[in-house]
């Protein structure tokens, strides 16, 4: 038997080794997800840019042109595109992540590793697509000749918040999905409802004040409006309403951020509690 001190450092090393192993699994699963998504298609990765752009064109023609929302502000197209790209990330990450545990049943039954890696890698994979789409937004921003400023650094923590919130939702859904496959259908409908309930195609100003209070309980709306307020700082004030305005003061912003944090923590706890039995259930 070794003396306690080396034994302890050995345990640390084992822990570190396992941590790096899990990170590598996460990385390889996310990379393969991304690769497989477009396997066998001629355009490949281009699709991840084309799809939100096509959705954008469609919605812009209907709501921007026919319903004339573009007359509200010169920034309507960019505002719409930001909304679509952020929502595409949320919707795709949650729906793909929800099914990920069941889809990876073979791994779960044959290999012992933290199950958390599976939905997390899915979310990371979708985040890579999101990063590609952000470059499209960047092109639009350049086209509109909007000058970046230091505030734009705040986009990073906002994206982190969106990622963690999305992951939290995904973990809850993935846990439920193992037991009850209906969750897939329910969530598909719910995320469509969410798309129209969130001020993506219409400006936040269209909502009456009481409805804004409800909308800003959603961390997604808070992140979306914060991103718009930061990037489209020249837009009309009523298009730049943020959670801080609605809940009065910067403390007010903590309400949706707090909700995001709670969702994330609940997701991790619920998932980890259910994870030991996944091998028997999937």
């Amino acid at each position: 038997m070794a003396t306690p001190a080396p034994a302890e450092s050995g345990a640390h090393r084992a822990l570190w080794r396992r941590f790096r192993h899990n990170l590598r699994i996460l990385h390889v699963l996310a990379a393969m997800d991304f690769k497989l998504k477009y396997a066998g298609s001629a355009l490949g990765y281009v699709w991840s840019v084309v799809k939100p752009l096509a959705l954008f064109t469609m919605l812009y023609l209907v709501f921007g042109r026919i319903f004339d929302l573009r007359t509200i502000s010169a920034y309507y197209p960019l505002s719409l595109l930001i909304g679509i790209v952020l929502f595409t990330f949320f919707a795709e990450a949650t729906s793909l992540g929800m099914a990920s545990v069941v889809e990876r049943a073979e791994l779960i039954r044959k290999l012992s590793f933290p199950r958390l890696v599976i939905p997390t890698s899915r979310t990371v994979g979708v985040a890579i697509t999101f990063a590609v789409n952000v470059s499209v937004i960047a092109a639009f921003i350049a086209w509109n000749e909007i000058r970046p400023n230091w505030n734009w650094l705040l986009l990073a923590p906002l994206f982190v918040e969106l990622f963690l919130f999305t992951l939290g939702v995904t973990l809850i859904l993935a846990t439920l999905f193992v037991r009850l496959r209906d969750v897939g259908q329910i969530w598909e409908l719910f995320s469509q409802l969410l798309f129209y309930a969130t001020p993506i195609i219409y400006p936040i100003g269209f909502l009456p004040p009481w409805a804004r209070n409800i909308a800003f309980l959603s961390p997604f709306t808070q992140v979306l409006q914060d991103v718009r307020a930061i990037v489209l700082y020249q837009d009309l004030p009523e298009n730049r309403i943020t959670a801080a305005d609605v809940f009065e003061g910067y403390g007010g912003r903590l309400i949706p951020i707090g909700i995001a944090a709670v969702v994330f923590v609940v997701g991790v706890v619920v998932f980890r509690r259910a994870a030991p039995s996944f091998a028997e259930r999937v």
Partner: protein, 254 residues
């Protein structure tokens, strides 16, 4: 290093199997008052044994006796209901070959996936890639998708990755069942090398010839209970003599 490599004490595991799988709400609504009935299947009942470091340890028994369940608990894939498992040493993370293979991807990607899952780093895999492919004799097929591989090619690829993994204790579930003669020969060579390197191996097999050739000691499971435990020849005699006529229960869940 004095204690056992694996110490299993009073291990119990039962599966609750619903008689009809209900996984949609509609089924719950259609039969709201019908209780889901369960059948409890005792996969493992009060199983205790220990494996010494460097030992080649066999787990044998008829189908449905709990061998695979036991191996999965050792690997940390299933949680035991009661009892404890203590492992001293680096456990190989896999019990089957080719975990995570994706048939839409080529050999290069699959070596990366499978190797990473088994604990190899990117650098290890880059360095050893040619060795892996060379050992599997698949140089001509590196850029082919796995769906175009024969089962023999798949097995060779999986095996050449698996032998690159570092471990003190190796868990193997029926690796010999699928291979052909030449693959078995390769396995046997590896087993000899493992013995020479005094690695601990826990080995589930129906192939009693290889069990008797390699295993130092064996545990015999019957209906989830230990029916024999000790030196290989004694337990094999017991198995072949006493139990062969006994009814064989259905295969339990995976």
């Amino acid at each position: 290093m004095s204690g056992p490599a694996i110490e299993v004490a009073a291990l119990c595991k039962a599966f609750r199997l619903p008689h009809q799988k209900q996984t949609t709400i509609k089924e719950h609504f259609l039969h709201p008052f019908r209780r889901v009935t369960y059948e409890t299947q005792r996969a493992l009942d009060d199983v205790s044994f220990s494996v010494s470091p460097g030992e080649f340890f066999g787990i044998i028994g008829p189908n449905g006796s709990g061998k695979s369940t036991l191996l999965k608990i050792l690997a940390g894939i299933y949680q035991p209901d009661r009892g404890t498992v203590q492992v001293d040493g680096l456990l190989s993370p896999f019990i089957e070959l080719g975990v995570g293979f994706n048939f839409e991807l080529n050999a290069r990607d699959n070596v990366l996936i499978n190797g990473t899952l088994l604990g190899l780093s990117r650098r290890d895999l880059d360095e050893r890639f040619d060795d892996i492919i060379g050992f599997a004799e698949l140089e001509r097929f590196v850029d082919q998708r796995l769906k175009n591989y024969s089962s023999g090619m798949l097995l060779r690829l999986a095996y050449s990755i698996a032998i690159q993994v570092e471990f003190d204790i190796l868990l193997l579930d029926e690796v010999l069942a699928v291979g052909d003669q030449s693959f078995q020969m390769k396995c046997f060579e590896t087993f000899d090398a493992l013995r020479a390197a005094s690695k601990t191996v826990v080995f589930v097999s129906h192939d009693l010839a290889s069990v008797s050739r390699f295993c130092d000691r064996v545990v015999l499971l019957q209906h989830g209970r230990i029916a024999g435990y000790g030196p290989t020849s004694e337990v094999l005699d017991l198995y072949l003599g006493g139990i062969e006529g006994a009814p064989i229960p259905a295969e339990p869940v995976r």
